[in-house]
């Protein structure tokens, strides 16, 4: 073991490798409910070359390697299930390029969302990227690697759909470029018109390699932004309303939330509809289109627009949304977790009722938060529960509620998003056998020694 530690020290430098108990403890967990498991070593590489050398060493020694960004998945995806070397990517946080005209940027694999937001605001104020509602220390690679969603998901899809190229260290240590950057100086496409190999790495949560650079699409940042919140007490109307809103092709983002507390929110489903424009006229035109699209519900008194007063509106306009963190502490115990399957929008009413049922069954504080992905193509439906970290019984009830929520969503045709190890197994059990076989073949081909984030997406 001392040899491994020395070898890692030689690669990343003395200050960036640790076997100390406190650091192994820190990296053994994330803020969610998953059981902790300590790594044997923690390293913080500063370059793709250092990552390569760490992975080559691990592959030779058949030691597990677990890449980690912000460590905020909540579902334990960067918890080293089998120990080994935890690679904290956050020293690799340089913004390497912004191509303003082609609207893409390239950053290193540990670059945080907060850094990207601040950089674009300062240097490229007409551009934006799809900001997830995660704390700013979340990394863009992490969000892409779990098929995350951000503020532009309704318009442009998953964060991984917006990727324009990757640089990856393979499990065998080779450095590999994916997309246009593999044969061109420009990072404008992750695949097309070439065979698209980005799918070997996006969504694999670090089981097929370590992403050391990522190119991603930027989008126009309009001068004005506003939100209208449509409220209805009939969840069965939600799929139709989403269909009508997405038909307009004018809305930036659609999020739906439902929670029993504070009391004023009880019984109602709230749809935050975000609009952007460069002029008041453009914004007003879009507002009018949205109102007209929903007029039949207003006239039937089945829904209406909520008055967002000036003291409340800033909360709705935040990016990322801090209200999620505030909800996390509603029980004054700091715990919050959600199961967020990707599922058809038509399943919203069933999922909302299931959340209420689970909250009641397990006596838990609950909320629903659903983000539309694409023009009504699907949604992330969050079954969210809060808990007090000092209350182990309550935490156990949350685990049970989340298990039931995922089981329910799989039964209703959904897919688990950023699934826990158990949820991955459940998904593989349901998967077409030939698909699963292909899954296994790809993993084996890329990672013959099974060193990459073992325990995750393991085909038995």
């Amino acid at each position: 073991m001392a040899d491994i530690s020395s070898a890692l020290t030689e690669i990343v430098g003395k200050g960036y490798v640790s076997q100390q108990a406190q650091e192994r403890y820190f990296y053994s967990q994330d803020p969610g409910l998953m059981q902790p498991h300590e790594p044997d070593y923690v390293v913080l590489p500063a370059s793709a070359d250092e990552v390569q050398r760490v992975v080559k060493l691990a592959n030779e020694q058949k030691i597990p390697v677990v890449p980690r960004g912000g460590g905020l998945s909540l579902t334990g995806l960067a918890i080293p299930q089998r120990g080994g070397i935890l690679v904290d990517m956050r020293r690799m946080d340089r913004i390497l390029e912004v191509n303003e005209r082609a609207r893409y940027a390239v950053v290193e694999g540990g670059t945080s969302e907060g850094r990207i937001i601040a950089y674009l605001e300062r240097h490229h104020p007409t551009l934006r990227h799809s900001i997830p509602d995660a704390p700013p220390q979340a990394t863009l690679v992490g969000n892409a690697a779990i098929h995350g969603q951000g503020r532009l998901a309704q318009q442009y899809g998953f964060t991984s759909d917006m990727v324009t190229g990757l640089e990856v260290v393979l499990p065998t240590g080779e450095l590999c470029k994916i997309g246009s950057c593999s044969m061109s100086p420009y990072w404008f496409s992750k695949g097309p018109p070439l065979p698209d190999m980005s799918g070997l790495f996006l969504g694999w949560i670090g089981t097929s390699g370590i992403i050391t650079k990522i190119g991603f699409k930027l989008y126009p940042r309009k001068k004005l932004r506003d939100v209208e919140t449509f409220v209805t007490d009939l969840p069965d109307l939600i799929p139709d309303i989403v269909f009508k809103l997405t038909h307009l092709e004018m809305v930036e983002d659609i999020n739906i939330w439902f929670q029993p507390l504070p009391l004023m929110f009880k019984g109602n489903h709230h749809m935050d509809i975000y609009l952007t424009g460069d002029t008041d006229e453009e914004l007003e035109f879009k507002r009018r289109m949205v109102w007209n699209a929903l007029s039949e519900y207003i006239e039937a008194k089945d829904g209406g627009f909520m008055w967002l007063m000036p003291d409340v509106k800033p909360t709705f306009m935040e990016m990322p949304q801090k209200s999620i963190a505030r909800f996390a502490d509603v029980r004054k115990g700091g715990g919050f977790q959600y199961a967020g399957p990707i599922i058809l929008v038509e399943k919203y009413p069933d999922c909302a009722r299931k959340t209420e049922e689970l909250g009641s069954k397990y006596k838990l504080g609950y909320s629903v938060m659903a983000r539309m992905i694409g023009r009504g193509h699907c949604m992330m439906f969050g079954f969210a529960f809060t808990f007090n970290r000092a209350n182990s019984d309550e935490m156990d009830r949350v685990r049970k509620a989340l298990d039931e929520a995922i089981e329910f969503s799989l039964e209703h045709g959904g897919l688990p998003w950023k699934p826990t190890v158990d949820e991955q197994r459940a998904a593989m059990d349901m998967m077409d056998p030939n698909t699963l076989k292909l899954f296994g073949k790809l993993r084996k081909a890329l990672d013959p020694n099974g060193i990459m984030n073992p325990g995750n997406w393991e085909v038995s």
Binding site: L263, I298, D302
Partner: protein, 352 residues
């Protein structure tokens, strides 16, 4: 439960049927108005119930103080009408459900009612309130509930208002200064109309400000401003308070400009119209707001003075976008005293 004390005989002797004839939104002749009012009194359906935008103006137009608007609201509810969509109605009813989220200061003989409007806490400071600021109460337990007139839910008022009176009285003060115009209207107009006794002295904050400014007159610096006054719907319940606007402006060296949409011809802020109706209501609200602001601009004002916090929230950004600075009446008084403006949601500091 308490009941509305409506006197049919007063309507029978009324010649002008001003309540409906003067309504901006109905455009009725006297005969039609009389016929529709008769239907309302008799519990029959009238199109007035459908077309009412709940601006409260008919309360002011009635020469007998017979509360035609309260009767309209009662009838709307009896017919099971929803003015706002169901979800919005329930949201507002739940918002002010008393569930123990209130705060009470060190109550003295006089106390300040901040209603259930936290933005007031920013405004209550300085010399104007130095003797009374600590003696306050705020929360849904003390909320006047008048707003449910906009939602055809008089039953909520009938159920909650007696308890609110009890809650306030239990604090033990002799006099309450109401910072929310609508609260004052609740205890001076609604409560008597429903026969609810109010066992404490009810004072409008305009009256308090006027008296206090006179005490501090040596410290006042004339503002030499031309202002528009945004008269709220609640003021229709208590028109006797409107002269204080002129009285206070006079002490401050402020000119309340003559404009089309002031005094009895005031246009409401239209927040509720926008909330309650579909795209048509939204257009009406936008149109009312545009006409109102254009009227201010034509009168050449620098400031728009607000009384009601909800008018302020509905219109402040819109008037500011047109170059007219929004200011609450309390902030205007503090400005004349040379005090630092507040920075909160209703603070003048946001627009300096």
């Amino acid at each position: 439960m308490v009941e509305l004390r409506f006197d049919e005989a007063k309507c029978e002797q009324c010649e002008g049927v001003n309540c409906l004839v003067r309504c901006k939104h109905l455009n009725l002749d006297v005969d039609t108005a009389r016929e529709e009012m008769r239907k309302i009194i008799n519990g029959q359906h009238s199109f007035v119930l459908d077309r009412c935008v709940t601006c409260y103006a008919c309360e002011e137009y009635c020469p007998f103080g017979n509360h035609p608007f309260y009767l309209i609201v009662e009838r709307q509810e009896q017919e099971g009408m929803l003015l706002a969509p169901r979800a919005i109605t329930n949201q507002w009813i739940n918002l002010c459900e008393p569930v123990g989220r209130y705060s009470v200061g060190k109550i003295q003989e006089r106390a300040l009612s901040l209603c259930y409007i936290p933005a007031f806490t920013d405004l209550v400071g300085g010399k104007l309130f130095e003797d009374v600021a600590a003696s306050f109460f705020i929360g849904p337990e003390f909320f006047c509930n008048v707003v449910y007139l906009h939602f055809a839910r008089a039953s909520v008022i009938r159920e909650r208002l007696p308890k609110v009176v009890e809650n306030i009285a239990a604090l033990g003060m002799k006099e309450v200064i109401f910072l929310h115009d609508e609260c004052y209207g609740s205890f001076k107009s609604l409560a008597p109309a429903y026969g609810i006794p109010v066992p404490f002295k009810v004072t409008h904050y305009f009256e308090y400000l006027y008296d206090r400014l006179k005490q501090l007159s040596g410290q006042l610096k004339p503002l030499n401003m031309k202002v528009a006054y945004q008269r709220p719907c609640s003021s229709r319940l208590i028109p006797e308070t409107d002269h204080y606007v002129d009285d206070i402006f006079s002490l401050l060296g402020v000119e309340r400009v003559n404009r089309t949409y002031d005094r009895q011809n005031a246009l409401c802020c239209s927040a509720i119209v926008r909330l309650n109706m579909g795209p048509e209501g939204r257009d009406m609200a936008n149109d009312n707001q545009s006409k109102n602001i254009e009227d201010m601009l034509q009168a050449g004002v620098e400031h728009c003075v607000f009384n009601c916090p909800y008018c302020y929230m509905a219109l402040s950004e819109k008037v500011a976008a047109k170059g007219v600075k929004p200011i609450h009446m309390i902030e205007l008084c503090r400005l004349a005293l040379g005090e630092e403006p507040a920075k909160g949601v209703m603070g003048y500091g946001r627009y300096q």
